[in-house]
Symmetry: C2
Subunit: 145 residues, 2 copies
Amino acid sequence: MNEQLHIENQLCFRLYKLNKSITRLYAPLLKEAGLTYPQYLVMLVLWQDEQAKSIKDIGAILELDSGTLSPLLKRMEKLGLIKRTRSKTDERSVAIELTAHGKEIKNKAKFIPAKLLMLTGLTKIELKQLQQDLDELLHNTQQHL
Amino acid sequence: MNEQLHIENQLCFRLYKLNKSITRLYAPLLKEAGLTYPQYLVMLVLWQDEQAKSIKDIGAILELDSGTLSPLLKRMEKLGLIKRTRSKTDERSVAIELTAHGKEIKNKAKFIPAKLLMLTGLTKIELKQLQQDLDELLHNTQQHL
DNA sequence: AACAATTACATTGTGCGCAATATAATTGCA
DNA sequence: TGCAATTATATTGCGCACAATGTAATTGTT
């Protein structure tokens, strides 16, 4: 009997479940704004400073490649959230910017983080500590990629 | 400027990246055994006690529904990892059991958890503490689903 | 200037994950 | 017993995630 192979002992399985669990918590809140979770992540990046960003920039922040982002951003354009424009200074690059509708949604979305924090039941101090732990782990794992 | 909406302040984003990052760490190790990560999770469940389990049982453990498991298990059958059999006592139920090949793979896989733990750079104590923290968070979030 | 290498993005194909719906078997209850 | 409700699984459709490949624009080198 190999205790290490026991599924409940595996860190990865907890992260797998927790990630799904949190995504499901977001779903109803995001639905009100008409967003999926990955779309929400893109919007967070664009809301940051409301400046146009290239697909490359967005990919670097979210750690997603063009195979994921190209169709995702096309869907978001069809939903009227963003506009895609070929850069004139570099025709290879595509600039992504928010539409007026995309900017408006921020007002609905800005209450989401607080709502979610409440659902986690974490205090601000626990949150900060957990974020540090996860950052350290993220740093370690990414060294081996 | 809404600090809460800043993507780098969001717990969910860390979990999202960490989950992807860890899955990518597994990928090359699992490839040697011819498994994807979700397939590995199913195998972990079946390796536990090498007894046939229903799709429902597997779904309860992995928190996956038939929409995910039905095609996943069909692919695994095609790969020769498992066998699917309609239960005779209850024709609605499908029993999943390991093939000889499926059992053999355990010998390759049993070294994976230790390898991965090393890549995380965590001590056993840190691991245990983190697992507890994640369990608590998982428990809290699942209360609201 | 010519051309090889690199870069930014798009496309194709595969495998999840999940909502919604369908179907057949079983159970529960009047 | 008959029939409505429940249960176990399957199917469809959509949206990621990512590997592999393709393409056009740009850069670097000689």
